[in-house]
């Protein structure tokens, strides 16, 4: 890389990260603003956090979102892992192209289309078989599973594709049944990918506004639905406080995960070195 080019790349990197983090930083700063006017600095205060903790509507919505996100992440991880396993390990089976298409299309499908189509399905099902009766937590969870399992599928599939099959083949040669091979060999190896998939599915569900708005019913307002109806009317400082708390949780989680992964990597490197030393 010549000098001029590296200066250009470095500048773009710095500006890019300022662009990505500036708005988040401004949210955090203004959450400590005493004044209700978001643009006037009225001194440092934590009163919006206190107000947030007394807002029953927001807290209730957060609890509902949490329940839906956890349930969704668990179901989507199971289904997505199965699909990823089938796509990466089963060779060319009948219906592979169909499963592949259906598993990757939700990644890019505009949310308004997914939301509308699922709502129409739920209405048609209710007319035909009487289930699901009304719309609420169940319908939101089903809708979220459908679009977030695609992400789990891609994560698990690409992990499996990058993985050497020889360990599984060795276990099979030694007489282990497919189910045993999966639980003793494959599952532990792809566990990081599965965990990442679970977290991804959780976040997608926790964040989703559009699909949830279509398939939710009266009384089932998730956190994004409540935030959107507040934000539509303009800026409100307690939403800034909420955003700060959420960013903090995510940052702590990601830093912890990063440190944990780095430690694991170091331990693995050390093991490899020891093994080489022992062989010498």
């Amino acid at each position: 890389m010549n000098a001029r080019k590296s200066v250009f790349v470095l500048t773009m990197l710095v500006l890019g990260f300022v662009f990505l983090y500036g708005p988040i930083l401004s949210l955090i700063i203004y959450s400590f603003n005493e004044s209700r006017l978001v643009t006037v600095w009225g001194g440092f205060s934590v009163k919006w956090y206190r107000e947030l903790l007394q807002n029953q509507q927001l807290l209730g919505a957060a609890w509902l979102s949490l329940k839906i996100a956890a349930l969704n992440a668990t179901c989507a991880t199971v289904l997505g892992t199965l699909a990823g396993l089938a796509l990466a390990r089963f060779g060319a089976f009948r219906g592979r192209a169909l499963l592949m298409g259906m598993a990757t299309a939700p990644l890019v499908m505009p949310e308004v289309i997914t939301g509308l189509s699922l709502l129409l399905l739920f209405v048609a099902m209710e007319q035909a078989i009487g289930w699901p009766a009304g719309r609420g937590m169940t319908t939101i969870t089903i809708a979220h599973i459908t679009f977030s399992m695609a992400y789990v599928t891609v994560v698990v599939q690409s992990r499996l594709a990058a993985l050497d099959e020889s360990l599984e083949e060795a276990a099979m040669d030694l007489g282990a049944r497919p189910a045993k091979v999966f639980f003793l060999i494959t599952l532990p190896i792809i566990m990081p990918a599965i965990l990442a998939g679970w977290l991804l599915a959780f976040t997608l569900s926790w964040d989703d506004l559009v699909i949830a708005s279509f398939v939710s019913g009266p009384g089932a307002s998730t956190l994004p639905i409540v935030i959107f109806s507040k934000v539509r009317l303009g800026v409100s400082p307690d939403i800034n406080a909420l955003a700060t708390i959420l960013v903090l949780i995510v940052a702590i989680g990601i830093v912890t995960a990063g440190i944990y992964m780095q430690r694991q990597q170091k331990r693995r490197d050390l093991d490899v070195q020891r093994a080489i030393a022992a062989n010498d």
Partner: protein, 319 residues
């Protein structure tokens, strides 16, 4: 009548025995379940809904719940009557509002995708060429906004872009006389899309650039090739897969975007996702909303297929 019933029973039994024989024959019931369960789920909750959307897009609107006329009606004895009404589609083509919304969505998504690519490529390049110790940290920084709420990140721009917002205050401090009107303009929509979707552009680009064989560039330099030419003729073609995947990951969802035009756009920044939302929630016209959805899908079929081919090629490259 009785005979026909009996025959049907026998046939059903035969099918069942055939199926169970096949299952036992495979000795792989587990395998069937592994691929069958997700396939069934997606068939029911992903594919079938599209058929229903199409069905409703060709039926008449009515007052009541659900607000559309049934498609199949039982006329006379047992003759099923299929009533198709393409008036909703004709309506979409005739009304300038919908035509403009479509055009505007494609143009907005296209320009935003291009800007994302122009910002994202140097960033991905810089990350891929940085020291390994830095690389993971930078990647983490790219992904962190993705884990925080999309809605709240779009909301953050409202406070920044307002006429009395942070950016205008800074500009006026630097000597600008009048504040710029930025919120509720198309500019804000572009900004919002680029901001929200930039990580989706950077990640596939990073994967492609990181995999690039550097000796090729050295060989080109040894043979007297200028860096710009080497970049255009070696780096860009070899990272094409990443470019396509990144562009599609931005373009397709951006066409149907609702939150960004609703929060940052003005009344004239109509996008098709917003039109669909308003038809559905404000006008309660489900058939027209369905027709809008089908028309949007037709528009996106080709980009979605390009994306899936790129995904398939990337999965193949791993092996």
């Amino acid at each position: 009548m009785r005979l026909a019933e009996l025959r049907a029973w026998i046939r059903a039994l035969g099918t069942w025995r055939w199926a169970s024989h096949r299952l036992r024959g495979w000795r792989q019931g587990g395998r069937t379940a592994v691929m069958g369960v997700p396939t069934l789920w997606l068939l029911l909750f992903f594919l079938v809904p599209f058929i229903i959307v199409f069905k409703i897009s060709v039926s008449d609107a009515r007052l009541g719940m659900p607000p559309y006329e049934p498609l199949f009606t039982w006329a006379q004895a047992q003759v099923m009557q299929l009533k198709l009404n393409f008036a909703n589609y004709a309506f979409l083509f005739e009304d300038a509002l919908y035509r403009n919304a479509y055009l505007n969505s494609v143009v907005t998504a296209g320009i935003s995708t291009l800007i994302c690519l122009l910002i994202g490529y140097p960033m991905a390049y810089g990350i891929a060429r940085s020291k390994p110790a830095w690389r993971n940290l930078l990647l983490l920084l790219v992904m962190l906004p993705f884990w925080t709420s999309f809605l709240l990140r779009v909301y953050a721009w409202i406070g920044l872009l307002r006429t009395d917002g942070v950016i205008n205050k800074a500009l006026m401090f630097l000597g600008l006389d009048e504040p710029l009107v930025m919120l509720q303009t198309n500019f804000a929509v572009y900004l919002g899309i680029v901001y929200s979707y930039l990580p989706f552009m950077i990640l596939p680009l990073y994967t492609a650039i990181e995999r690039l064989d550097l000796t090729l560039l050295e060989a080109a330099a040894d043979l007297g090739c200028k860096p710009t030419k080497a970049f255009l003729r070696i780096t860009v073609p070899l990272t094409k897969g990443g470019i396509i995947a990144g562009c599609m990951l931005v373009f397709i969802p951006a066409v149907g975007e609702f939150v960004i035009p609703a929060l940052l756009g003005g009344p004239d920044s109509l996008m098709i996702g917003r039109v669909l939302w308003e038809e559905f929630f404000n006008n309660r016209d489900w058939p027209v909303a369905s027709a809008v959805a089908i028309a949007m899908l037709l528009l996106l079929v080709i980009p979605i297929m390009i994306f899936q081919r790129a995904q398939g090629a990337r999965a193949g490259a791993h092996r």
